[in-house]
């Protein structure tokens, strides 16, 4: 199944076919513009589900470095999940230092002020020395939080420019039938990458690299004689920057002894291939030899869906030349030990495969910074990379 030539350029003629300037990946000024015009106003996927914090007092903390804010997300006694600036309203000290946990309340380690699980100021030590504090108005500062199909997002605008539902665009319909419920996080990773966020993300936006970068981890899972270059069978590029790409699975993929074992006690990440079980909410029904889907929520996070599993990731921009790649796998909640062992196979293969994906980023970034090349040349199969550059540049230039 080789792809027809230039099919995506015909679908999206507005993206053009010419070389793409590296300027937006190497310019510090451009990065500042991205921060002001895009990041400050976007919904940030926290790569967590509300089911990750099921009980009152369950919380997690996420640093949003690009905005400089530490966010505390916590479930209150009333069952509601809220997001706050992780800060004491006394003088601004950080309240919670652990990355996740369950707590009865938050006590500041500077002067002992205490906040309850709804973020309200519950107790001020030596209160009579103050001049009539309005404690009811001194709760932890709130941050807009919303959830989409159970995934948690925050927005730092005083009034978000668009709702989360609007930002999700066509995913509202396209992913509607996908069953996220019952999936549990079985692995989470963070990688420091010394490269621009777009350069980093580009390595994850096409199938062209698979035969080369993943020759060891996936020698035959996504490529085969019928599709040696991992041609992407289906792509949908949305006006707002969101993207959906079907990644093919190879029908002649051979199971290793260990993958056979993993299948015996569960399933693996290759099970979408030739699977007769329908996976609604994916490209499976429309793509011959479907593997899984990449769903990019503009600008830099994704909800990628396979046959009964998903993984969420984000290319968190830290600075013009620094990115944190965060990745979390959600599989059916394991009940039996054998299921955990079975899932460990897919998790480790995919974890190691993602390290291969990250191998080219830093040297590529260095070469672009050195000005060794001024343009990149993109094939029809790399149209999602082209679309990202165009969407970002248009937003920064205000068009």
């Amino acid at each position: 199944m080789n792809a027809p030539k230039h099919q995506f350029a015909e679908m999206y003629p507005q993206l053009g076919k010419g070389p793409v300037s590296t300027e937006s990946a190497v310019s510090k000024e451009f990065f500042e513009q991205e921060r002001e015009k895009i990041f400050r106003h976007q919904w940030f996927a926290l790569l967590k589900r509300d089911s990750d914090i099921p009980n009152p007092g369950d919380y997690f903390v996420r640093e949003i470095e690009i905005i400089g804010v530490s966010v505390l997300v916590i479930r209150g006694d009333d069952g509601q999940v809220r997001a706050f600036h992780n800060v004491c309203t006394h003088r601004g000290n950080r309240l919670v230092h652990d990355e996740l946990g369950c707590t009865t309340g938050m006590q500041c380690d500077f002067h002992g002020w205490t906040f309850n699980r709804q973020g309200e100021l519950a107790y001020v030590t030596d209160e009579e020395q103050f001049y009539g504090l309005d404690k009811a108005a001194m709760g932890m500062p709130t941050i807009h939080l919303d959830s989409w199909r159970g995934f948690l997002f925050v927005n730092f605008d005083e009034t978000p420019r668009e709702t989360l539902e609007v930002a999700m665009g066509e995913f509202n319909q396209d992913l509607a039938p996908f069953e996220f419920e019952g999936l549990e996080c079985i692995g989470r990773y963070r990688y420091d990458v010394d490269a621009n966020w777009k350069t980093t993300m580009n390595a994850f936006q096409e199938g062209y690299h698979v035969a080369f970068v993943h020759k060891r981890s996936a020698p035959d899972a996504f490529t085969g004689n019928d599709n040696p270059y991992c041609h992407i069978p289906k792509i949908k590029l949305q006006e707002n920057g969101n993207q959906s790409l079907a990644v093919p699975g190879a029908p002649d993929h051979k199971l290793s002894p260990t993958e056979e074992l993993a299948f015996k006690f569960g399933s693996t990440f290759t099970q979408g291939v030739g699977n007769t079980e329908a996976c609604p909410g994916t490209w499976q029904g429309e793509a011959e030899n479907w593997g899984f889907d990449l769903n990019i929520i503009f600008p830099f996070s994704r909800i990628n869906v396979g046959a009964g599993w998903c993984y969420v990731d984000a290319f968190w921009p830290i600075a013009q030349d620094k990115t944190i790649y965060e990745l979390a796998y959600y599989f059916p909640k394991p009940i039996k030990p054998s299921q955990m062992i079975s899932q460990e196979f897919s998790k480790i293969v995919l974890r190691d495969l993602s390290r291969e994906d990250l191998s080219t980023n830093e040297v590529t970034h260095a070469a672009l910074m050195a000005g060794s090349i001024k343009n990149i040349y993109l094939s029809d199969q790399e149209v999602a990379v082209r679309h990202l550059y165009k969407t970002v540049t248009d937003r920064v230039n205000g068009s």
Partner: protein, 115 residues
């Protein structure tokens, strides 16, 4: 030293130290091992993996006795060794972002077992 594994798996006793309780430790153990060691572990464990899974499935993860957890951890460690032998032909991932730039976080099932 007394046996740490159930009677039926006494033959694997010399591998019990491979059963590190977290993914972070298991990955470090793998990268710090030689291919000879990993291949030995893989070849010994592969024919026993099915029996290990069946034995452990007497329990749900939520009520797994502490006494059999080392066996589960050895089963999880098998997967680290397996990708070295079957895919990478190396203890680490060649041509990849270095392991020290990767932070392996701890998630639900692992935390629950340690609690």
């Amino acid at each position: 030293m007394s046996n740490q594994l159930p009677e039926a798996f006494a033959d694997l006793e010399h591998f019990v130290s491979w059963g590190e309780p977290t993914e972070k430790l298991r990955m470090a153990r793998r990268i710090g091992s030689t291919m000879a060691e990993l291949t030995d572990y893989y070849s010994t464990m592969l024919p026993r993996m099915e029996a290990i899974a069946v034995y452990l499935d007497q329990w749900d993860l939520t009520d797994l006795p502490d006494s059999v957890k080392p066996l589960l951890y050895m089963g999880l460690m098998y997967m680290e060794a397996a990708v070295c032998v079957e895919l990478f032909k190396d203890p680490d991932v060649p041509e990849a972002s270095p392991a020290e730039k990767l932070n392996v976080m701890s998630e639900h099932a692992e935390r629950a077992l340690l609690a």
